[in-house]
Symmetry: C2
Subunit: 405 residues, 2 copies
C-alpha cells in the first residue's frame, strides 16, 4: 500500500525530537545525561502521590475514574484559581503543557502565519509550530532594552512587508529553555506594548517559574496584561511529569476556542491524576515539594557552575541561571555540537545540540546542559568527561584558546 | 483586542459536542440521563485501581512518575502486544482513543480530503474530522452485501469525480456508536477489498468490542488485513475513562508518523496511569472486570429492550444491540429530536439527538440512548417519562400511529 500518498501536507514539516530520539538510542541510567529536561528521581514525593491516590479514590469513589469536564475537574480549576489568583473562568486544564502549546498553535496558526520566538527557544514548541507550518521567526536576545525592542519591531515589520500575519509571540520568560536566562520586567513590559500595538497574543510558557534558587520573582507577563497573554503552567517540574498535567490561564474568549478544540483532542485531561494534583495543591504538599526540589536543584545548579569553571577549556562560556533546569554552553565559533554529538555519546555523555533550539538553525557551537536529573557526583564525572572531549575536539579543530593547559 | 482575527481557518469548522454541552447545563445525578457514553459507576474496580497504584509506585518508584517513551511505556506495549496478538512494533499507546482518532486525522487529512463514515457515526470522530476541514461522506448502511458495497463504491466514485482524495474510512464495526449494531464479517471483507482497490486506510474504532452480551465475536477488520487498517482500542469502557488511555495497532510506517506527531501533542501518555493499566492487564484484573461489566450491562441492555417494548408508543422502533453501551431509537418521520430536546431536559430526561451523528444532518427523527450509566430502576423510570413525553409530542404533531393507546 502506498502510504506516502495518504499523509497530510503538515507531515512534511514534522520534526523528530532529537531529545526523544536520544532516549530511543541509549539507556539513560548507563550514561551521563545532560540531555533531557527530566526531574531528578529524588524530586518526586512518592509517598505523597501514593497517599493522595488512596485518599482521592476513597473520597471521590467512581468520580475519580469517570469522564469529567473538558475544562478540567472543578476541584483542580478552583485550586489553580486560588493558587495563582486568577478567576475560575480563566483556567483551562491541559493534558501536559505541551498540549497547551499545541492547542494554542492549532487555534491560531494557519500555514505561513508567523510565530515570533526568542532565538534560541524550546525545541518541543518549535516542533509544534513547525508541524502546523508556521513561519517561525526567532529574535536574538539583547540585554539593552532599546535594542531588544528594535529587534522585535524589525522582525514584525519584515513579516508585515511579506504580507504575513503575526499570530503570537512565544516566550519562556523565567529560566528559559534552553538558555536558563530570565527576562527583566522592562522587557516583559515592552513585549506587552508590542503585542497591543500590533494585535498579537503572547504565549507565556512558564514551567520553571516556581523553581527559583536566588534573586526575586519578576511579575509574569500575564499579570501585566491578562487579556493579551495566554499563560501556560505545568505540574511536570514541580510535582511529576508522569501525571501529564498543565493549565492555561487566559481571556475566556480565547479559552473557549481552546476548550472546543480540546473536546476533539482528548475529551478531558486524566481525571485520577487531576484529583491527585488537586490534593497536592490544597494539602500544602505541593509547596513542601517545591521547597525540597529547590534545595536539591539549587545545589546542583551552583555546583555545576563551579565544576564548569574547574573543567572547561578556556573559550567555553556558559549562562548563570537563577532557577530552572538548564544552562547553555557556548564553544568557540567553528565548533559543531551536532557533529560532535556522536563522539560524546560513544564516550558515554549526552547533551542536546544548541542548534536544535534555534529556528534558523544557527548556534552550531552551543549545547544545552541539564542539571536537574543527575546528582552532583555524576554531574562532576560527566562534566569532567565532557570537558575532556570538548578540549580534544577544540585541539583537533585548532580552536583551543588556552594552548598551555 | 480583536481575537477573531487571530483564529486559524480550522476554528471556523470547530463543532461543540452537544453531549459535553449538556453536561455543562445539567447535573447528571439529578436527571435521567440516557445521554452520555459514561460507564456505570458500578463498573469501576476501585479497590483494584487503588491496589495497583500502590503496587506500581512501590515497584517502579520514580519511574512511575517520570517522563517516558512517546510510543508508550514498554511494559504496557508488551502487555497489549500479548493480549491482542500483535507484534510490539505495531503498538502505539495514545492519551485516550479520542486522541487516536485525532492523530490519525491529523497525519492524513488536508482540508477537502474525504473521510468516509457510516451514516450515522460517532460524534466525537465527526468533530475531529470537521476540525481538520475534512469532507465527510456518510454512507447509509444496508444489510444486503451487494447494496452495501454499491453504496460505498458510489460514494468513492463521486469523490473521485469531484477530484477529492479518500484518505480513510472510519468504522466502528462492533456495537456501533450510536446505532449499537455490528458489521457482519462479509461486509468487513468488502471494506478491506475497497480499501485495497482504492488505496485508502480503514480506521477501525473498537472501544466496545470486549463488551459482547450475546452471540459470537466477529473478526476485527484489522485481523483481515493489518496493513490497511489502523485499529483503535481503549481502556475507557473496560477499565476507566478517567485514565485517558487508548492504543493504536497498525503498520509501523503509519505508526511512525503518528509517533512523531504525538511528540508535539503531549510527549507521552500519562505514565502512572499506564503502569496501573499494565498491572490490570497482566494480573488478570482486567478480564475479571470485563466479566463483571458484561454481566451488569447485559442485564441493562436486555431490560431496556423489554421496557421500550412496554412503554414506547407504536411507530417508535429501536435497534437490538449484542453489546456495547447504546441503542438507537427512531420515531415517525416528522418528529424532531433536536427541537424536542429542551422539553425532555426540562422534564428531567436527557438523550442525544440522532442528527448530530449524521454527517449530512439527517436523522432528525432519531435519538441515541445509553444503557450503561443508570441502573435498571432509573432506566425504567426514565423510559416511562421519555415514552410519555414522546407520545405527547407525537400527539401534538398528529403523528401517533396507535391512536387507541
Amino acid at each position: 500500500m502506498d502510504y506516502d500518498s495518504l499523509f497530510s501536507a503538515d507531515t512534511a514539516s514534522f520534526m523528530r525530537s532529537p531529545v526523544r530520539e536520544i532516549f530511543k538510542r541509549v539507556d539513560l541510567s548507563k550514561i551521563y545525561s545532560f540531555a533531557g529536561g527530566y526531574p531528578s528521581p529524588d524530586a518526586f514525593d512518592l509517598e505523597g502521590v501514593k497517599q493522595s491516590a488512596l485518599q482521592v479514590i476513597d473520597r471521590y469513589g467512581s468520580k475519580a475514574l469517570q469522564y469529567n469536564a473538558t475544562q478540567g475537574i472543578p476541584e483542580l480549576r478552583q485550586a489553580l484559581s486560588e493558587r495563582y489568583g486568577v478567576p475560575l473562568e480563566r483556567v483551562q486544564v491541559t493534558t501536559s503543557s505541551q498540549q497547551g502549546i499545541d492547542v494554542c498553535t492549532r487555534v491560531m496558526v494557519d500555514p505561513g502565519d508567523v510565530v515570533l520566538t526568542s532565538n534560541p527557544s524550546y525545541l518541543g514548541a518549535l516542533q509544534s509550530f513547525r508541524s502546523y507550518r508556521a513561519h517561525i521567526v526567532g529574535v536574538p536576545h539583547s540585554n539593552d532594552d532599546g535594542e531588544f525592542r528594535a529587534r522585535y519591531e524589525q522582525a514584525i515589520d519584515q513579516c508585515k512587508r511579506q504580507g504575513r500575519k503575526v499570530k503570537f509571540l512565544y516566550m519562556i520568560p523565567d529560566f528559559q529553555n534552553p538558555s536558563g536566562e530570565t527576562l527583566p520586567l522592562s522587557q516583559r513590559r515592552l513585549l506587552v506594548e508590542l503585542a497591543r500595538e500590533h494585535g498579537f497574543v503572547i504565549v507565556e510558557d512558564s514551567p520553571y517559574r516556581e523553581l527559583r534558587y536566588r534573586g526575586h520573582d519578576v511579575p509574569t507577563i500575564y499579570s501585566l496584561d491578562p487579556d493579551c497573554v495566554l499563560h501556560l503552567g505545568s505540574f511536570s517540574k514541580i510535582l511529576a511529569p508522569g501525571l501529564r498535567l498543565g493549565w492555561i490561564l487566559g481571556n475566556p474568549q480565547l479559552l473557549d476556542q481552546i476548550y472546543v478544540c480540546k473536546q476533539s483532542l482528548d475529551l478531558c485531561a486524566p481525571v485520577l491524576d487531576q484529583y491527585i494534583a488537586t490534593q497536592f495543591v490544597t494539602s500544602g504538599r505541593l509547596d513542601a515539594n517545591i521547597e525540597k526540589i529547590k534545595g536539591l536543584y539549587s545545589r546542583r545548579c551552583q555546583g555545576m557552575q563551579e565544576l564548569l569553571a574547574r573543567y572547561m577549556p578556556q573559550g567555553v562560556t556558559w549562562t548563570r541561571p537563577d532557577g530552572g533546569l538548564f544552562l547553555f554552553l557556548t564553544m568557540p565559533q567553528g565548533f559543531d555540537a551536532v557533529k560532535f554529538y556522536d563522539r560524546a555519546l560513544d564516550n558515554g555523555v549526552a547533551y542536546v545540540a544548541g542548534s536544535f533550539f534555534h529556528p534558523d538553525g544557527s548556534g552550531l557551537n552551543t549545547m544545552r546542559l541539564n542539571f536537574s536529573f543527575m546528582d552532583l557526583e555524576r554531574i562532576d564525572k560527566g562534566l569532567q568527561l565532557l570537558a575532556r572531549l570538548i578540549g580534544e575536539e577544540l585541539d583537533a579543530l585548532g580552536l583551543r584558546c588556552d594552548a598551555g593547559q
